[in-house]
């Protein structure tokens, strides 16, 4: 897994961190928060099910799933199965710990450091909030200025896509006719819509009656455009509507065709899998 210190993502716009999930603990905290459950009394069956749904969806989107996510999935299932077993009298005497205890400790500790990281970044940073004369650190000066971060988490984007899949009843019959659209073609389409509309609601790109393949191709196109830094994905409020806009650099005379060509090379592998 590759991680960048000063996320490339923010160099000029937002980019989805496909390789840069913060990890399984982050995902679990997200699920706990989303379900509004008590961290000390996690409904392990429900959380494990949702966690696995995420992994499934990531698989379906052909995103790389880091090994850590799978280890956590196994841990969740192990905890779930241990909770199903009745407690034997010996264990009761030995006061065996709740099977979830270790996980809860890790989650709380992780949350603590995550909060600490928010505190760190809210300080007055040299070169960002406060300035001194000739701040002589070429390593830091080299870094590109950043745009305001648009806070759309990858998880939220995936959730939005999950809602799309739920909203649109997809034909489950096996359709032999190849739906020939590639990610490159779809990127071109999405870009041309954006060139006309400037701003587009995420959901509006997923029309009723689209095949599941086309939905997935559309979603991958959005991710790819983000990666190519051609669009920005923004959200007015947490859990609010997700909007797509053209990135500043893409607006000035970019040629969708050349972009598509650039994308085509990178995507051959994904297309084969999605289209197949």
């Amino acid at each position: 897994m590759q991680s960048n210190l000063f996320s490339d993502a923010l160099e000029d716009a937002y980019r989805v961190r496909i390789e840069e999930f913060e990890g399984p603990l982050d995902l679990l905290l997200h699920l706990i928060k989303k379900n509004e459950v008590d961290i000390y009394n996690i409904p392990i069956a429900a959380i494990a099910r949702q966690y696995l749904e995420y992994i499934e969806l990531m698989k379906e989107l052909n995103l790389d799933i880091a090994g850590e996510f799978l280890v956590m999935a196994a841990t969740l299932l192990q905890i779930k199965s241990r909770m199903l077993l009745p407690v034997t009298p010996e264990e009761e005497e030995a006061e065996v710990e709740d099977p979830r205890a270790e996980l809860v400790r890790r989650l709380l500790e992780y949350q603590r450091y995550r909060d600490a990281s928010y505190l760190l970044t809210s300080r007055n940073l040299l070169g960002r909030d406060v300035f001194a004369r000739k701040f002589g650190s070429p390593e830091l000066e080299e870094l590109e200025p950043v745009e305001e971060p648009a806070d759309v988490e990858l998880f939220e984007l995936i959730e939005a896509f999950q809602r799309v899949l739920a909203r649109i009843s997809v034909d489950t019959f096996h359709d032999v006719i190849a739906d020939g659209i590639s990610i490159a073609d779809r990127i071109g389409e999405v870009l041309s819509v954006l060139h006309v509309e400037k701003t587009v609601v995420f959901d509006s790109l997923f029309a009723d009656g689209m095949t599941r393949d086309l939905l997935v191709v559309t979603f991958l196109s959005i991710l790819e455009l983000c990666k190519l830094k051609l669009i920005k994905i923004v959200q007015g409020e947490s859990l609010g509507t997700i909007w797509l806009t053209l990135a500043a650099s893409a607006e000035e005379g970019s040629d969708p065709e050349s972009v598509v060509e650039a994308a085509t090379h990178e995507d051959t592998e994904q297309e084969e899998i999605v289209g197949g």
Partner: protein, 192 residues
């Protein structure tokens, strides 16, 4: 009168130097003055800058003193410098936070706490000189142990590591409020 001139001498030194100046360094430069006088003059300067309504403050960072612009004016300065400063990825921040609070730590400890591989991000932080290698741990495999650097303190405006917000403070700042996300019930709502 002599005290006033010492104060202004120190002020000009601080103005010219591009890094925090430590008391030790000032004592070496100002060999004709006594250490307590230098300390006293620094304290007065800090107080003066604090009291006066100026665009510059004198702060204690990374074991020294440095003149910096007021944080309230960041927006104007960014217009001048056309830069918005550094922006950390969440993984970099998490890693920095863990290492700052837990140092000396090994990579394995960081990875256990974060739940993910952190080799790349730690290498990157080392390259940016925000981390430093403190040595090797005396356990099998002799893993490297890491800590934060002087540059880390400078960047985050910390006097020293003790100036990090304590983790207890963090808990106070982020109280576990299970109802935070729930909208308040309108009190005058009338049942249909």
């Amino acid at each position: 009168m002599a005290v006033k001139s010492l104060r202004t001498i120190i002020e000009s030194l601080l103005f010219v130097h591009d890094q925090p100046l430590s008391v030790d360094r000032l004592c070496l430069i100002l060999e004709e003055y006594e250490r307590p006088d230098i300390r006293g003059a620094l304290d007065e300067l800090v107080e003066e800058y604090h009291a006066a309504d100026r665009g510059i403050v004198l702060v204690q960072v990374a074991g020294g003193y440095q003149l910096r612009s007021c944080p309230e004016h960041a927006d104007y300065i960014r217009r001048l410098t056309k830069s918005k400063g550094v922006k950390f990825s969440q993984s970099a921040l998490e890693t920095l936070a863990i290492i700052a609070y837990r140092q000396p730590v090994t990579r394995a400890e960081v990875e256990y706490l974060r739940g993910v591989d952190s080799g790349g991000v730690m290498k990157s932080l080392l390259e940016k000189k925000l981390l430093k290698i403190l040595g090797k741990k005396d356990v099998p495999g002799k893993p490297l142990i890491y800590g934060t650097s002087r540059e880390f303190l400078e960047l985050f405006g910390l006097k020293d590591l003790a100036a990090l917000p304590t983790l207890k403070e963090i808990q106070e700042l982020v109280p576990p409020d299970p109802f935070a996300d729930q909208p308040a019930l309108p009190l005058d709502a009338v049942e249909p």
